[in-house]
Subunit: 435 residues, 4 copies
């Protein structure tokens, strides 16, 4: 069969045996380690174009680039393989139970990448594996593209297993989405670069505000439920931040080496301080402080206590009451303003690669996989691999060391704690691989 | 004496008797009305350049364009009149009591207009008329430029009176600053245009968020303590807003014609709604609801209850409990991100005109005045005139009618109320004059 | 008849006898002057909503805001008056001869204001009055909205006359479009504010480039065929420009007081110079220098000689050959990058007002008019009035004086020339009215 | 000695024997290949902080991020190693002969990364090895940081050799700067990401312009003298481009499979076409067409013939004369507007890493090296390695295949040519490594 993709990719077909190593820095005594199949066009294609009925669904919160991924799955299937039958499932997993679907063509999706949000709309939760697979069967769908985060990918794994159990010839491809960059194995998640860029606006605003007053304390809360990547990289990019607090690094407020002491010191030196705060920072601390019980959202994510207002109030109280000194608090939460923008050029290219990898994989007959770069080479990864652990900022890694060198903030750690930390974080990935 | 300004302005000298009328639409039976001196260069200059010692001070909250005004006062004095002795008072009125001042030259201020905030730093309150005038006398200052809002201008009026009482030859010029556009008499305040532009980002983000989910309710809180100009014009500019709530227009939540009913209706029609909310909207209502007592800040401004989180919670509760329907609430407060940006091109030009008018006025020997366009002609206005009332959105005016036509939101008013309102608002200025 | 507009505008109906004065600054011996009908909703409406068949056409070059005007004509007709039958004529006047038209509804145009360009597409020329009116008659159109520049409005006047001659009950409304702001009578044209804002990017880039090198000469060419408004206001907004050359102010290169001397002086003082250049500047001079004959485009506009590359080459040659000094020339032509962007918030509001004025006028039964603010009040103006002269920068006005004070550039004029100029420019409008 | 860097980097010291492999995809029969020392802090430091006198110089054209690199060299030396004596050499290599230098401190450079251009100013050429090394000796400088492109790095290698010949204890570190991304060995050059992002504005403008007219032909010229990376990635990011022409891929205009045929086809299908053009595309072709001789600039770079206006004219002529069809040509050259902007967040982080690597290397006593990521790990590379070849887009690589799949443009190549090309380009690096 003469595929349209062969026209372009003839020279660059990936051989079935090509693999990508998960670990690139190899030491004397390290074992061979895990390898994944390299992503890309195959010479041998499993599906005939006119037999393909594909569907695309988006789940969970917004993230810049979703629309580019949707667009490029549709254009990739159509331009590279001649597929004409593509359905859009609307409003997340729930959309599988709905009577209606959207018809997706290159023309329909032509400009959606210039807009934020998701053209297919989204929701949290609503996953019923059997009903979804029934629906896939009823509609005669044989390629399922699922764009979503952790919980969504776990759902995709269940769909894949149920499909396997029923013996259906249906390819299930996951495209991992998390603005937090906390997906394991892959180098970075799409939208992350755009989020870091847009976060600069909020940091700049906080900096301008606190520079203009006496004892200005600027706090910017950024995304990052379990990982502080956005906060860390946004801090490094800005060079205006005095302190970055992330979920991976517990902090304390009072006493020697605590946050209050550091704030006081910077106010004395510079008259102002800018703190960047990941939303997941200090959760245990706040929970103890507020005697709060844990709750979960529809996707099964733990409902976080809002660290931003909590910390702002703690700082205000401390300086007013204990230090007898009024601080000018400027708290900014730019979350929705970051999530809702279109992806930047860098993410647009990245989303294109992810989508094309997914299309090549499904067309080649792979299933139960997600896509993403591993050590900067795009690979197919079993879904379970990316959901079993989470990517977090390694406190003993080079990126965090660079951040500490840049902010000169307290480490909030004693030496023994640092070493313990190091031993525990075996699943951590050094973000320097993505820069 | 041959002034440098005469080089450029020879053709355009303003005659002392030139005036600007406050009311432009004249009806049969209207009296002649109030007129102000037209701003601009005079043939006759009061101060000799080498005898001038000027100072500039900025007070109150941030607003885009402060730095441009400061820059243009300095450059105007220097380039147009050859003045070389200009001091920057740091950190608001309090800076008058400080030992140090900044030396301001065209070189020092050359690039400050490209940055947000205020190069001179600012604070609230701290006004002690006698100490300030003592300080002016001690330093030998004979021109005082005061950039600030309502409270600041009242302080400027006191300084002017005390100076007059002491018989000092000191010119006091106020440049009215309020991002809210609520200063009476003048057409609009600087930074307003930039604020409306930047507010679009937040409104767009809210719109994208709610369009991507079921029952999405987006709320964007914008500046506007006593007046809803930013909210009104930002709503008109966006065309994505379903409802705009401002201090001038009381609203109610429950029952027929209430906000909940309107939200429910839009959710049914479109699946989402975007509400723009001025910070001062509904204050009496909230106060009653929260049984809160009134507090004031250091500038004497009433401390507002935070309408944003309050309304978000009210809506969530209503739809969860009463309507048994989960709404997806997306609340955005972009206040600091708007206040802290540099002024746009339009405000840069406007700030230049304000600063040059102030300089021409002070050099011509006027004092106790503020500057600003009245019916699009720049004029000198006695300070007391701009502080005795406030500019608010006229609910029976054409701009609000255009907004209602655009959003089709409930008026929250019965006919008799509307008429009463009209009679009471004799000080209101129709914003259509500024467009 | 109960109109939907009356719901909002009841309080603000314009009385048929309300007028706006063309001249606002009145002197002792001035006559009463020209007055125009005030724009706005009338109590008495001429057309019944279900009898209206409207059409919209866009002609000439791009300008930010065209799509907002189109959107608001459609939404205004539908929301305010209940009109449902609106056609989009595609590709300029030529589209009248085409078999196809677009159907315009609020839903179709809902998001077009977020995109640059024109949704209706455009072209130059192609005007055949009789064929167009035949077509209007054949299609049963009774409201014609024509968005376009000078040539287009002259075409609109011809259409209006032919319609009058044939005794048809068809309202013809022109919405003047010129990014150059050179339309007479009205305060400013839509898109102008956006253009000035976007021009700052190019000026900033030129400034950064020349500041980084020795003898840097940055030249930015901006729009302005016959008027230098964009160049003038962009220069005032930037504060980084050393010299602004516009069509209204002839300049010369060599000798005392010439441009070369001024460039040399600034290079000696600062090491760099930034020149902003309106495209129509120096045309006669270049024509003589190049011995070029005059040509015209399809709209009848004189084809300008490209002053940008010409001046760049002249400067390079002079300094290399005559001064034996290499200059670092940085020439930027951002024209298309400015024209093609969406309108900013300020222009969005302005376009809305223009469109609604046009709709109110046509629905009230007026015809042969254009709309626009005159002394900041929206008015209906006979089409012929706005095409018989052009708005240009008044060299003896206050805005140009401010520019000269800001750049300190040579005036390129002797005193006697200045006076002569003043006498000749009776049609000029002082731009200070629009700020 | 207790270095301040050890505080942060203790956990992450790089061992002297750590290396980075140049080739990451290893095949059965490949040799071990080239390895470079891994960049990063060393436990053993060569220089004592108070004995260091460092200098920084910037050469060649502008590129986003230069100021961030300068800032981070200064802050890195000061914060991480306690170095206090740092000089800024002004205006490129020529600055070494000047009497004056700038004193660089963290405070002086604190905000320069928010501005485009180079704080140290720059020039082309002016390199006299002996005079420069004399000057380094005279001033007692022992660390030289040189930021610049190809020619500049060749100059740095000569300085390093002369210093070695004289037996001076001076570290020479090069930071490769080329907006074109054409530097060999390293993954990508700083400023590239920002350039691709900013290029989207011009492409969008061209697309909007040509979509609004009949037979619209938009041409955007982007940087890329010898390599088409910016054009390629900007095309992939945009999804609005029909054709991308780069120096690596010769093209022809007339006949079957030529550019004119492709343009005609797209105009027929879509009514418009957008072409992105690297400045170095088609140089041989143009030279033959124009009978032009080769010239060079002060840096020794070949002066390119301006392909943009040339191609625009060729297309206009062809369609007017041969096809009797008027095209609407929209040509945009955004070069200076791209070069002069500040670096985006992603490049800011990247520039920080480059600067810190350089500082760690020089402090550890390495010399004659440049820094940059090789397979996403930062490494020290002998200067000669990066200047002996150039990085170009591999026509048989996956990124170009993706581009062809995206644009569906003609390859302008026969099969035999493609293979020949492949064999010749042994130095090419597949850009997919950087995404």
């Amino acid at each position: 069969m003469q595929l349209s993709s062969s026209k372009y990719f003839r020279e660059t077909f990936v051989k079935p045996e090509d693999v990508v190593a998960q670990k690139i820095v190899v030491t004397k005594d390290s074992t061979r380690g895990v390898h994944f199949r390299r992503a890309g066009p195959r010479e041998k294609v499993y599906f005939k174009p006119d037999e393909v009925r594909a569907c695309v669904v988006t789940c969970g919160g917004l993230c810049p680039g979703i629309n580019t991924v949707v667009r490029e799955i549709v254009c990739g299937l159509n331009y590279m393989y001649g597929v004409n039958d593509i359905l859009g499932i609307e409003g997340g997993y729930r959309g599988f139970y709905s009577k209606n679907t959207l018809t997706l063509t290159p023309k329909v999706v032509n400009n959606i990448h210039k807009h934020g949000g998701t053209y297919l709309r989204t929701s949290r939760g609503g996953h019923d594996t059997n009903k979804i697979v029934d629906n896939i069967q009823d509609r005669g769908i044989n390629q399922v593209y699922i764009i979503g985060g952790d919980g969504t990918q776990r759902g995709a794994a269940l769909i894949y297993q149920e499909i396997a159990k029923r013996g259906l010839q249906v390819a299930v491809a996951g495209i991992p989405k998390t603005i937090d960059n906390d997906i394991a194995v892959i180098d970075k998640s799409f939208g992350f670069d755009t989020a870091v860029e847009e976060a600069q606006r909020a940091i700049n605003a906080a900096h301008v505000e606190v520079e203009s007053v006496d004892n200005g304390v600027g706090i910017v809360k950024l995304m990052g439920r379990y990982s502080g990547f956005i906060a860390t990289i946004a801090t490094l990019a800005s060079r205006d931040v005095d302190c970055c607090l992330i979920p991976e690094s517990p902090f304390y407020l009072e006493g020697t080496g605590g946050l209050f002491e550091f704030i006081e010191q910077r106010l004395k030196e510079n008259g102002h301080i800018v703190i960047v705060l990941a939303e997941g920072a200090g959760q245990d601390f706040i929970a103890r402080d507020m005697h709060a019980a844990e709750e979960k959202d529809a996707s099964g994510n733990r409902l976080l206590l809002d660290v931003g207002p909590w910390l702002s109030q703690k700082i205000k109280d401390h300086f007013t009451k204990v230090q007898k000194m009024a601080v000018n608090m400027k708290y900014i939460d730019p979350t929705y303003m970051i999530r809702a923008i279109p992806s930047n050029a860098s993410d647009n290219v990245y989303c294109t690669l992810l989508a094309q990898s997914a299309v090549h994989g499904a067309m080649a007959g792979y299933t139960g996989f997600t896509v993403g770069p591993v050590n900067s080479r795009h690979a197919y990864i079993p879904i379970a691999r990316v959901t079993e652990t989470q990517n977090t900022v390694e406190l003993t890694g080079r990126m965090w060391a660079r951040l500490l060198a840049s902010t000169n903030q307290p480490s909030f750690l004693t030496d023994s704690e640092a070493l313990k930390e190091k031993a525990a974080d075996i699943n951590n990935v050094d973000i320097s691989a993505q820069i």
